[in-house]
Symmetry: D3
Subunit: 61 residues, 6 copies
């Protein structure tokens, strides 16, 4: 029963999230032998003011 | 100082969250010997468009 | 399909983890209306060298 | 710079993890427009004594 | 490529988050030898109704 | 009561972790007004076989 948490900037469409969840789930089923119905994918969206790379907020780039 | 993170669909009432936090904390104190005042519980709510099981968004079920 | 992640110091017995998982799951079923078979609980154990409160490693207390 | 955390039972081979990381990364690039080199995937393996579904440890099933 | 997730009550200003991300990143570069451009910091803000310590929601204190 | 989770490759010394925990805690106290004794830092170490950037395991680089 794998759990997948994706943390990314907010702003993806529902269609993008739908495809992401499908493909990540497919990968777990086909590559790791997980049972499809037992896989959970949560997408955790963060704002540009709450996400930094290299020490700099995305809002400042 | 255990940290507990609960990821679930948005939509629970404050009273439901209150009870959840109480009971999870009680379980850690009584079963694992944790100090009550040191336990943190965070409830991370996700939307139906950001949560999938079996590769299908909750919004599509 | 709630996901629960518990981060705590290593060292609990299997029996303690068994009880913790049961009671956390019961709380989600009874207080938040979650379906029992859909609840996942993962216990993430960390060593005393990898866990700090108040800025001080547990290994140094 | 998306971060992906996969929590699953220990026991996958390196080849399985390699494929998982590739395919999850591909999905983020192709479906969500993420930059490949900015994607991080961490696989967090838990033991059967630290993972429960339906309130029952995997070790007890 | 270290990933840092900070879970805290909502309400910090952008300037506070900017400083936090800078200093956490500096610490990883200077103390752990991480490459600056590879460090991701995500700040996950939770409401007072979704955060409890000692089993009591912040909203009830 | 902020919770900080750092996910990074295994292999840091205790002294490195000690400094990291201190400085991350200091940053939260000084920049975000958090109470020192309420801050938890957990360092989650992953192996080179369980960590990928750009879709490639660290073990393969």
């Amino acid at each position: 029963m794998p759990m997948v948490q994706v943390t990314m900037l907010a702003g993806r469409t529902v269609e993008q999230k739908r495809k992401l969840a499908q493909r990540i789930t497919d990968a777990l089923v086909e590559e790791a032998g997980a049972k499809r119905e037992a896989i959970v994918v949560a997408i955790n969206e963060v704002s540009r003011e709450s996400y930094a790379t290299g020490g700099v907020l995305m809002a400042d780039k």
